[in-house]
């Protein structure tokens, strides 16, 4: 009996192997994805934001300001345009993200305690970039105005200690938890690779039923009266094993070689991934049972798999989505997986909290497999 099961599994493996497109996708897809995303995020985080300073005053006071900007964390002054127009052009062309304009007569106005303005421009068209730039700029502006204020107070006859006291700001220490260096590699690369992996898996899973019932050899199986449950059970087993075999090298490279954070340890992560692989496979199987042919089934699968990462809230948070959408996104196994993945790799909040994520994947798998069975039975009746 087990011999027969093994035979079905071996046949399925052959089938996947000989389907050249599928073979290429499954063998190279996730790994290539991981390497590509690693390469893209090679820089890890946004430092050295290109900055330009237009110093229209060229005095010692204005140079002081320039120096402060040069020393600011994450800002890197790359050019000193001679006019505002030149700066404008550079920002429009995207060469510069932050522009600083120190007005003419700056030193004179400061000396005379006249109101004077330093203009700081941030190109916000790339918000991720701009958020970083803005944070860096906020740090500098605080010191610049405070120092100017203290000088003014001192010139008004206040003694230096008192003047400093007045400006004695509350000192803050910032800590980014779970990813203290704000590293984009930690945040995005593996998640992107997993996103790619789940797309590849969807392609394979979405021919589970139709790949069998949609071809003429199905007649043989029907004529023999072979148990459909047994056939698909063994097929699915192989699929899920293949899915896991695809992701393990990715995990080894990511966690082992590139030392991406893994707070929960390898075992729970692997188990969680296994449950997701099963849930994903169940979803693909459902598509494949309802579709008319392998092509349609693949397309259905992709209609879910492609936007699912955006919907999962891994990047743009679910809390920021409109209220009516929030419950909807939790229908997809991808949402549970990517949310759970974030908790497991960065935070490891403990079993009590994570249990619901594991159970959700199991429930999704059960529901989808049951529906797929019902639909297949109806189609074949």
């Amino acid at each position: 009996m087990t011999n027969l099961n093994l035979k079905i599994m071996r046949r399925e493996l052959c089938y996947m192997w000989r389907d050249r497109g599928l073979r290429n996708i499954l063998m190279f897809g996730p790994l290539l994805g991981l390497l590509l995303f690693l390469a893209i995020y090679n820089a890890q985080n946004i430092k050295d934001i290109p900055t330009a300073i237009v110093d229209l005053d060229r005095s010692s006071s204005s140079r002081e300001i320039s120096e402060k900007i040069c020393n600011a964390e994450n800002l890197k002054v790359v050019t000193y345009p001679t006019s505002y127009q030149e700066l404008e052009g550079q920002i429009q062309r995207g060469e510069i993200i932050v522009g600083v304009v120190i007005p003419e007569n700056f030193a004179r106005d400061v000396a005379l305690h006249r109101h004077t303005q330093v203009l700081l421009i941030i190109d916000a068209s790339n918000t991720a970039y701009a958020t970083n730039a803005s944070t860096a700029v906020l740090g500098v502006t605080r010191t610049i105005s405070a120092e100017a204020g203290i000088k003014t107070l001192m010139s008004k006859g206040m003694d230096p200690a008192q003047a400093k006291d007045t400006y004695l700001a509350v000192d803050f220490k910032e800590e980014g938890w779970f990813n203290p260096t704000l590293n984009y590699v930690y945040f995005l690369v593996l998640a992107m690779a997993l996103n790619f992996w789940q797309q590849c898996c969807t392609i394979a899973a979405s021919i589970n039923v139709i790949g069998e019932t949609g071809v003429k050899s199905w007649l043989q199986i029907r004529a023999i009266g072979f148990s459909k449950f047994r056939l698909f059970f063994n097929k699915s087993l192989i699929h899920i094993m293949v899915f896991m075999a695809m992701i393990i090298p990715v995990y080894i490279i990511a966690f082992g070689v590139f030392k991406l954070p893994l707070a929960c340890g390898f075992g729970p992560m692997l188990f969680f991934t296994l449950l997701f692989a099963i849930a994903l496979h169940s979803l693909g199987t459902l598509m494949s049972s309802a579709a008319n042919n392998a092509m349609d089934s693949t397309r259905f699968g992709m209609m879910v798999a492609l936007p699912s990462f955006v919907l999962s809230g891994y990047t743009w948070p679910i809390e920021a989505m409109p209220g009516f959408l929030q419950p909807v996104v939790w229908i997809f196994p991808q949402t549970w997986f990517f949310q759970g993945f974030n908790y497991l790799t960065f935070k490891n909040p403990g079993w009590d909290f994570m249990a619901s994520y594991f159970w959700a994947l199991i429930i999704i798998a059960l529901v989808c497999y049951s529906l797929a069975t019902l639909i297949t039975a109806w189609m074949e009746r």
């Binding site: 050249r20 599928l22 996708i25 994805g33 590509l36 390469a39 893209i40 090679n42 429009q92 062309r93 004077t116 303005q117 330093v118 421009i121 941030i122 068209s125 991720a128 701009a130 803005s134 700029v137 906020l138 605080r142 105005s145 100017a148 204020g149 000088k151 003014t152 006291d165 007045t166 700001a169 509350v170 220490k173 910032e174 800590e175 938890w177 779970f178 990813n179 704000l182 945040f187 392609i203 021919i207 139709i210 071809v215 008319n292 042919n293 392998a294 092509m295 349609d296 397309r299 209609m303 492609l306 936007p307 955006v310 919907l311 989505m321 790799t345 960065f346 909040p349 909290f353 009746r381």
Partner: protein
């Protein structure tokens, strides 16, 4: 002309008869525009769940709490009074940021003992992380300014004097192009251009493979009709629909999703036309040379993510290794995504956009050339590959129902 029209007409009829194709050509673009539009509708993060662990209970610490409470960016989660509670909240996602004010904070501050408020934020999701960090700094800056103003006032300065002192060097920070730091402006159009790309390809990429699989391609080959008429006729419905969808997406984006779409309309139209022509003809070429529609679709689908990432649309090009940037420029999607941002968000004019237009134009001409000038004779079929094609060879219930319906309809007429 009549031949061309006829081919286009029947291809269009085919689209109308295939429910999935209807979905892809007519519904999916609008669906994805609405879906992503809804996802990114709020555009900026606000109400970041924040805990304030006040171990000082002084006037100053209450002032700090008030500063955070008054800011829209944060929502203070009540009932978190210890560092440990905050830690748990940060771990299970109920908190995304926290402020810890140490004991004897006020006292230490005024006695010039070194003391610090701790500001933590969740960096496991960098959208939360980077925004929280920025918001915290903004609140702190405001707080410090106000604090200083209060102190100056108590030292007997008049409001006018205070303003003069504090603004002796005013740092005026302005954000250009996207002043609210909206994520919708930032991401939405890029995602949509990818959707136009992928849906455009999916629609057209079966128009020849389908005929090949059903053997009717031979009717085109055996007729004396020139190739450009076949290519143009078959692509025409998709060209029109893709351009229509492109315009529709722009309209939906600006009208309902409130994405900033400014800049020259003419430039947007030209960009869209070139892009749609390139995509449609590229899809036709894929359709022409792929022997198996399923395989072609699979590879195409997997393209979306790498194409999006490599374009430099989200992660700045300057941070991507040179070699990947060189690969990136080979894809029209890279040019289009960056191009549409330049026009719609940065309101760039022709003098900045001409390289993009030129490159997209070259893509369009190349794609058009290879689509319209294909070789009509077939190559010898490749028999070695196992083909699992899009057709269904074993009758299924739904297929039989459809056939039955058609028969009934035919007999009625």
């Amino acid at each position: 002309m009549k031949q061309l029209w006829n081919i286009a007409h029947y291809e269009f009829l085919h689209v109308l008869k295939d429910p999935i194709l209807i979905l892809i050509v007519f519904i999916a673009p609008l669906f994805y525009a609405s879906l992503f539009g809804v996802v990114y509708f709020s555009a900026i993060l606000h109400d970041v769940p924040l805990a304030i662990v006040d171990q000082d209970h002084s006037a100053l610490s209450r002032e700090i709490r008030l500063a955070f409470a008054n800011d829209d960016s944060f929502k203070i989660i009540a009932g978190i009074d210890s560092y440990e509670e905050m830690e748990i909240g940060m771990k299970n996602g109920t908190l995304r940021a926290g402020i810890v004010i140490p004991q004897d904070f006020e006292q230490s501050l005024y006695q010039n003992h070194p003391t610090q408020v701790l500001a933590v934020y969740d960096a496991s999701n960098l959208i939360w992380g980077l925004n929280s960090r920025k918001f915290i700094r903004e609140v702190i800056n405001d707080f410090s300014t106000q604090h200083t103003a209060v102190r100056l006032a108590s030292a007997g300065y008049s409001p006018q004097e205070i303003e003069n002192i504090m603004n002796s060097v005013e740092c005026n920070v302005t954000a250009w192009n996207n002043p609210t730091y909206s994520y919708t402006n930032y991401l939405f159009m890029g995602l949509m251009m990818m959707a136009v790309h992928q849906l455009g390809l999916f629609g057209v990429c079966l128009c020849v493979t389908r005929e090949k699989e059903r053997k009717s391609w031979i009717q085109y080959l055996a007729a004396s009709i020139p190739t450009w008429k076949i290519a143009l006729g078959k692509s025409l419905p998709y060209l029109i629909m893709n351009f229509f969808n492109y315009s529709l997406i722009l309209w939906v984006s600006s009208r309902f999703v409130q994405v900033k779409i400014e800049g020259s309309v003419a430039l947007l139209i030209i960009l869209g036309l070139l892009y749609v022509i390139t995509v449609t003809f590229a899809g036709f070429i894929i359709s022409l040379y792929s022997s198996n529609s399923l395989q072609a679709t699979r590879y195409l689908m997997l393209l979306s993510l790498p194409l999006f990432m490599i374009s430099g649309y989200t992660w700045p090009k300057a941070y991507i290794p040179e070699i990947l940037n060189y690969i990136g420029v080979l894809f029209p999607s890279t040019w289009m995504m960056l191009g549409i941002r330049m026009v719609s968000i940065n309101t760039a004019g022709l003098q900045l956009l001409w390289p993009t237009l030129l490159v997209l134009g070259i893509f369009a001409v190349l794609a058009g050339y290879f689509a319209l000038n294909f070789k009509k004779e077939r190559n010898q079929p490749n028999k070695s590959s196992l083909s699992l094609n899009g057709g269904v060879s074993y009758p299924r219930k739904t297929n039989m129902l459809r056939a039955l319906r058609q028969q009934i309809r035919a007999s009625k007429l």
